[in-house]
């Protein structure tokens, strides 16, 4: 039954049910409505009854009131009330029909109202009225009864209405019950029907879809005849269709699966075509367009074995239509004439699909089926997809082969790049390149020519393969960029780079683009390497220059005639020159030592004492030090870093014994003066004074011998005469004295003048006392005088000397405080010319120009006219001036630079070969005082003419026995003769001048050296960089940039570092590529420990082994500022050094070995031997002691043997040895030991391992490993000994299951003297390594903590060639 019909039945049932229940409800509603109407009527009846009653009562009451009052007004009221009653009665009648009761009431009321009307006409007080009223009342009574009856009738009607309502209620109930059951029955029926006709087929359908979706594609249930059945059938059809599609898709996926690269194209096609044919049940053929572009060739075919394809080759023209129309198909080939070629007589249906890629037709694929019309549209689509996939597959194969060729080119390039990358020698680099290129490109001749630094380098792969004409044409036609074919068989490539230019050419009949690419690749490698080689040459050159500079500085330091010591902040000696021999023996051995230890209180000088102040203040400091036989002046110069801190101090030490001696001479002079003074005083004290007595008039009364000696007069000459020695002009004062004497005063120590007999005036010290008579009256004078002329003179002299001395000290201090030569010289000359200096009028300094052999005016100081002279001298005075004032004055005052004299003197040049006073002074090293130029034949004409000098003196400036210049002075303006005294001071002064000049010159040279050092900093090949405490880079040298840029190039990073990029960055970012400090970096340690570190460092970022030296920088308060690093790439060096060190160590050890053996072993033998004898003869504790001696000696002997064995370089005597037998023999030796320790030996030998070895030595090597293994295991374990061999090497593996080797020890285990055992010599494994290496083998170790170690020995199967 159809679903629609089922639903119709259901609908009819449902409608019937609704109809029945509707009817029921309608009837009920009608009944109810009737009931309500009745009730409503009853209600109105009741109201009418009530109204009637009320109206009637009010009517009656109005009548009653009339009766009582007789008021005519009431008549109207009564009439109105009567109308009311009548109207109600009419109403009742209208609504209830003419009921009997109503009629009666009406009637009675009519009677009543007639009576009332009558009454109203009467007077109420009338009798008649009363009677009437009585009748009225009786009627009224009857009416009231009737009204009550009417009311009762109404009430009865209500009862009947209620009865009727009950009946309705019952009927409704029955109706609802019937409706409910009816609906229920219908609903159940409908449900049953629904279940049967909809739910079950639906469930079946769901079940089927679920199972199918789970993969049971073949699941089917019997479909019914209804719509569900139809649905299921269509669903099955869809699934079947999808299954077919799926199959096709699987096929497509399958054939589109990439084939392996190695598979050939034909294999690929065979596999795919077979698969297509099988799975689509058709014949499949693939044709590929041949290279000629004309013919398709059948390359693969697959079918069910029914017939071969009709053609193996197809003309392109025959199917040219494909190109435009894409895929072509026919379901009946017989109908297509144009495809007759393709008809094989069997298969009528055909699809042809083009294999197209890169928009080019590369082949076709054919699908055939026998039956006519067997292809549908879907097949066409499938064919198209297959053709795309096959096309792509073919393309992939082509791409792979292209890639492979490309890879091969790259491999060649890589190999080439690798082979030349270490080559820095240009000729061999070129030779290598040309040969390699020639080899790769079919052994065709290659030529490379480049011009470097004006020289030409030519490399030819085949000699004489290029004629001169070829070369000429190559050079003339040298292309600027890109290759150029010059002749038919000559191809030329330009080579251009920094500092060179050239070409590479190949003679080859033809050249493919790939070959050009390859060559360009080679050339780019070559260019890189050429650049590198050029750079290398440059570096070598620069290093050589740096080395030369360094040597120059060394020579300078060595040749300076003064000691130079450099100290660091810890007062360690950084450098010391040979001149220091002057003060301390063997100075060259002192580098690195503490200057305090070396010098302080131990040598005649102490650089530390002078340097410490410079370290503190950063200023030049100087100090004189006195040692035995030496006076030395030490001057310390700070070497500051760019932060202005003193990093080092250079101490110049000069022997100033000469100068000091001069100063001592001055002091001696002073002493001399003092002594003279004392002497004189003594003389005066001890000599009888002049004692002269006079009377009050000054007449001499007595004259003693002293007076005679002092004044020259004899007693006879003066007695009785007036005092003869009073000078004119002093008489008044004398009289004053006399007056005071007269008053009894005593005048003591008056200094005054006296005139001697010869007229000379002398100074005397005078004491005058009165002479009194017996009564106390003053009668005369007693004068005691003494000659103090000499004393006064010396006192003045002394004062002058003192002044000179202080001036000289002032000047020399000033001189030493400056190192600027120009300033210094000016200061010298100023001192010479100052009136209270040396007081000369003019001074010129000449310096000896040794190269040109002339005396050259360097500077002149002095006024140009007498007027100026007076002005200058009055304004310039050294007195009461500080050094600074003096300096300022010199620089800004009238004697400044560029005065007339200065300019004049600069022009003066006197050849030393001339014979003049000046040259003579130089040559003879002596002072010459020309008192009058007219009388001196050798007077310098230049000076006389240009300077108008009349008398002058010259003093040679001698430093270290060499005249470095002359000091020329004259007194043109005041004409003062130059005295010997002047000369003497000038001489003393000149010594200091010479020294100061020498110092200043030295300093100049040091400054030059410093700037040279700065150049070296830049040019040294080591990386030098300075960082602050927070790792910020402050300065770097060029090597740093070079290294960083090298890394960028190596890593292929497109970046060029410049100095400004690096400075300011964090060093760990730049040098390690990290975001925080690198723990293992030596620099980091320096920062964290504030100590200098020098260590080798494997740099994983810059990929090198570096020797890194980092030192902390501190400021004056000891605050850590940063670090200085010097990093040297020692990757190459390290390898060489390791080998060299090992060799040196062995050689050195070998030398001492024999001696050690003799000196130690012999006594050991005696000690041990006799101890053994003692042991045999003694008992008790003594025997024990002897036994201890024996054992200890044996231990010593073992150690000695190991050491000697290590250093002994013994020639190997190699013989073919059965290694397995040798190993067995060794194990046998340790049988007991192994048994005791419960160690099991497992052997895994390869057969016939015969190796030429020195069996004794190899035995020693293996024993060392074996004993180590035994000691590692100690108790209970397994040692596995394995032998094996490769093509070239025999292998011995000794594996233990001990605790393994600590990672920290691992790098050291083969190092001599490295041991982890308390009593080992640490030589065992190094001996082993040495032995194995002597055999040309190697040893390796693998270890894992807790699992044991394996030592693997490789020994070459062929004996090592002995050198």
């Amino acid at each position: 039954m159809r679903l629609r019909r089922k639903l119709l039945i259901f609908l009819i049932g449902f409608l019937g049910l609704a109809f029945i229940s509707g009817i029921g409800f309608i009837s009920l509603s009608f009944t109810l409505k009737e009931e309500i109407v009745i009730l409503h009527t009853l209600n109105s009846f009741h109201k009418q009854d009530e109204g009637l009653k009320d109206a009637f009562i009010s009517y009656i009451s109005a009548v009653s009131r009339y009766m009582e009052s007789g008021s005519p007004n009431l008549k109207t009221v009564i009439w109105k009330r009567g109308e009311d009653v009548r109207s109600i009665l009419n109403e009742i009648e209208r609504s209830r029909g003419s009921l009997e009761t109503v009629q009666r009431i009406k009637r009675e009321f009519r009677l009543l109202s007639e009576d009332v009307s009558r009454l109203l006409t009467l007077n109420p007080q009338d009798r008649s009225s009363v009677d009437l009223y009585g009748r009225i009342l009786s009627i009224k009574k009857s009416i009231e009864d009737d009204i009550d009856r009417l009311h009762g009738e109404s009430l009865r009607l209500i009862d009947s209405a209620i009865d009727k309502g009950r009946d309705i209620q019952r009927r409704i109930f029955i109706n609802i019950i019937a409706l409910f059951f009816g609906t229920l029955v219908v609903a159940i029926l409908l449900l049953l029907m629904l279940r049967r006709s909809i739910d079950r087929p639906f469930r079946n359908l769901l079940d089927a879809t679920e199972r199918i979706s789970r993969g049971e594609l073949a699941y089917r249930f019997e479909p019914g005849e209804d719509e569900f059945g139809l649905l299921a059938k269509r669903f099955y059809e869809i699934i079947d269709r999808l299954r077919q599609k799926l199959q096709v898709s699987e096929l497509l996926i399958d054939i589109s699966r990439p084939s392996s690269a190695e598979e050939s194209l034909r294999d690929f096609l065979r596999e795919k075509v077979r698969r297509i044919s099988q799975s689509l049940d058709l014949v499949c053929e693939v044709y590929i367009l041949k290279k000629d572009g004309e013919t398709f060739e059948l390359v693969e075919y697959s079918g069910r074995g029914d017939g071969m394809p009709p053609v193996a080759l197809l003309k392109y023209s025959s199917i040219s239509f494909l190109k435009d129309s894409g895929i072509l198909w026919t379901n009946d080939l017989e109908k297509h004439d144009e495809l007759r070629d393709l008809y094989d007589g069997l298969h009528r249906s055909l699809i042809i699909a083009p294999l197209v890629f890169d928009a080019k037709l590369k082949g076709i694929i054919l699908f055939r089926r026998r039956e006519r019309d067997s292809f549908v549209k879907d097949d066409l689509y499938t064919a198209e997809v297959i053709s795309h996939i096959i096309g792509a597959g073919i393309r992939n194969h082509e791409l792979y082969s292209e890639l492979h060729a490309g890879y091969e080119r790259f491999r060649l390039l890589y190999e080439f790049g690798k082979s030349i990358t270490l080559e820095v020698n240009i000729p061999s680099l070129l030779a290598k390149t040309s040969n390699e290129l020639s080899r790769i490109l079919g052994n065709n001749p290659v030529i490379i020519k480049i011009d470097v630094d004006g020289r030409s380098e030519i490399a030819l792969s085949h000699p004489d393969s290029f004629s001169k004409e070829d070369l000429k044409s190559l050079e003339e036609g040298l292309p600027l960029d890109g290759p150029l074919s010059l002749k038919e068989d000559l191809f030329c490539f330009p080579l251009t780079g920094k500092g060179y230019r050239g070409f590479l050419a190949i003679r080859k009949p033809s050249i493919t683009p790939e070959e050009i690419q390859l060559m360009e690749g080679f050339i780019s490698f070559l260019l890189i390497d050429l650049d590198k080689a050029m750079a290398f040459e440059e570096i070598v050159k620069r290093e050589r220059e740096a080395e030369e500079s360094r040597r120059r500085i060394e020579i300078l330091c060595e040749s300076v005639r003064g000691g130079i010591v450099t100290l660091d902040r810890e007062f360690r000696i950084l450098s010391i020159n040979r001149f220091m021999e002057h003060w301390i023996p063997a100075p060259e051995g002192l580098i690195g030592r503490d200057a305090i230890d070396v010098f302080h209180d131990k040598a005649p000088i102490c650089p530390h004492c002078v340097a410490s102040a410079t370290f503190e203040t950063g200023e030049i400091n100087f100090m004189s030090q006195k040692g035995i036989g030496f006076y030395s002046e030490l001057t310390s110069y700070p070497v500051k870093n760019e932060m202005g801190e003193v990093r080092e101090v250079i101490v110049f030490i000069q022997d100033i014994s000469e100068r000091v001696l001069y100063q001592e001479e001055l002091i001696g002079l002073y002493r001399e003066v003092m002594q003279t003074k004392e002497y004189l005083e003594g003389v005066i004290e001890n000599t009888a004074d002049a004692i002269v007595t006079t009377d009050l008039n000054g007449i001499v009364t007595s004259w003693n011998k002293g007076a005679e000696r002092i004044y020259g007069y004899t007693a006879e000459e003066v007695l009785g005469r007036y005092l003869p020695f009073i000078p004119q002009g002093l008489h008044d004062i004398e009289r004053e004295y006399t007056e005071r004497i007269r008053r009894g005063e005593v005048l003591k120590d008056i200094e005054t003048y006296r005139v001697r007999k010869d007229g000379t005036v002398i100074e005397v010290s005078l004491t005058l006392s009165p002479i009194k008579d017996a009564y106390g009256n003053v009668i005369g004078t007693s004068g005691i005088s003494r000659d103090i002329t000499e004393k006064k003179r010396y006192e003045r002299e002394l004062a002058k000397r003192n002044q000179e001395l202080s001036r000289l000290f002032l000047i020399s201090s000033a001189m030493r405080s400056t190192l600027e030569l120009d300033r210094l010289l000016r200061m010298i000359l100023t001192a010479v010319t100052m009136s209270d200096g040396l007081g000369f009028n003019r001074a010129i300094l000449f310096l000896v120009d040794e190269e040109r052999q002339v005396l050259k005016g360097a500077m002149g100081v002095g006024p140009s006219s007498p007027e100026e002279a007076w002005r200058v001298w009055s304004s310039l005075s050294m007195e009461k001036k500080t050094l600074e004032d003096l300096m300022r004055e010199i620089e800004t005052g009238p004697l400044r630079k560029d005065s007339l004299l200065d300019r004049l003197s600069l022009n003066i040049e006197i050849p030393l070969e001339n014979d003049t006073v000046l040259t003579k002074a130089v040559k003879e090293k002596r002072i010459i005082n020309v008192k009058d130029v007219r009388e001196e034949p050798l007077s310098d004409p230049v000076l006389v003419e240009q300077l108008k000098t009349e008398a002058y003196a010259v003093v040679p400036l001698i430093s270290r026995d060499k005249v470095i210049g002359l000091l020329w002075v004259d007194n043109l303006f005041n004409r003062k003769p130059i005295t010997d005294d002047d000369i003497r001071f000038l001489t003393g002064f000149s010594n200091q001048v010479a020294q100061a000049i020498e110092n200043a010159r030295l300093f100049e040279r040091v400054r030059l050296a410093e700037s040279e050092l700065e150049n070296i900093f830049e040019s040294i090949s080591d990386m030098v960089y300075i960082t602050t405490s927070d790792y910020t880079i402050k300065n770097i040298n060029r090597a740093v940039l070079e290294r960083l840029n090298k890394r960028c190039r190596d890593e292929g990073i497109d970046r060029v570092w410049r100095k400004e990029d690096v400075i300011g960055k964090k060093c760990y970012e730049v040098f390690h590529g990290m975001t925080r400090p690198y723990e293992s970096c030596p620099h980091h340690k320096t920062v964290s420990e504030k100590k200098a570190f020098m260590e080798e460092f494997e740099d994983p970022y810059l990929k090198m082994t570096s020797f890194s030296s980092t030192s902390p920088l501190f400021d004056q308060s000891g605050e850590f500022l940063g670090t200085v690093h010097v990093v040297r790439d020692i990757s190459e060096l390290k390898r060489l050094r390791e080998r060299l060190e090992a060799a040196e160590r062995f050689a050195a050890l070998g030398e001492v070995a024999a001696k050690v053996a003799h000196e130690i072993r012999n006594p050991l033998v005696s000690v041990g031997g006799f101890a053994r004898r003692l042991e045999a003869r003694l008992d008790g504790s003594l025997k024990e002691y002897a036994s201890i001696i024996t054992k200890e000696v044996m231990r010593l002997e073992t150690i000695l043997r190991e050491i000697l064995s290590f250093v002994r370089g013994m020639a190997l005597s190699q013989e073919d040895t059965d290694i397995n037998a040798l190993l067995d023999e060794i194990v046998n030796l340790y049988r007991e030991e192994l048994r005791k320790r419960k160690i099991e030996i497992r052997r895994q030998y390869i057969k016939d391992l015969i190796i030429p070895v020195d069996s004794g030595r190899v035995r020693e090597a293996v024993i060392n490993i074996l004993t180590n293994a035994i000691q590692a295991i100690n108790m209970d374990g397994v040692i596995t000994i394995t032998t094996d061999k490769t093509d070239k090497e025999g292998v011995i593996i000794i594996k233990d299951n001990g605790p393994g080797i600590d990672e920290r020890d691992l790098p050291n285990i083969f190092n001599p003297f490295y041991t982890t055992k308390p009593t080992g010599t640490g030589l065992g494994l190094s001996i082993t390594k040495k032995i194995i290496e002597e055999h040309g083998g190697r040893i390796e170790v693998e270890t894992k903590r807790g699992e044991g170690s394996s030592f693997i020995i490789y020994l070459p199967l062929k004996a090592r060639q002995m050198l």
Partner: protein, 115 residues
């Protein structure tokens, strides 16, 4: 059996002498090469042990002279330092590195005399 011991170290000489006498040999001990050659001619020992490093005449020289006189007398080179690389040493019958343990020396003497 006569054993001639040559060693410049007097204590070693004495040790060897006593030890070998304990073994029952007739031991002659001298401390220089010259004396060794004189005594060799006089007593014609059955075996000689020679130190190599000695003042005035070294062990190799003594060995050469002894071998030129009586090539059949076995000679043991006994020395503090392993000189086996030195060419001349190989003319001797045995080579013993000095040790406070004289077992090796005694064994070698026994072996050579039993031949």
């Amino acid at each position: 059996m006569k054993v001639l011991i040559v060693d410049d170290d007097e204590s070693i000489l004495r040790l060897y002498k006593e030890e070998l006498e304990d073994e029952g040999y007739e031991v002659y001990a001298v401390s220089s090469g010259k004396e060794a050659i004189e005594l060799f001619e006089k007593i014609d020992p059955d075996i000689v042990t020679l130190d190599i490093l000695m003042p005035d005449m070294d062990g190799i020289a003594v060995l050469r002279i002894i071998k030129s006189k009586k090539p059949d007398t076995p000679v043991i080179m006994s020395t503090a330092y392993d000189y086996r690389d030195d060419f001349g040493v190989w003319a001797a019958e045995a080579y013993v590195v000095k040790s406070s343990d004289l077992t090796e020396l005694k064994e070698t003497i026994r072996r050579l005399l039993n031949k």
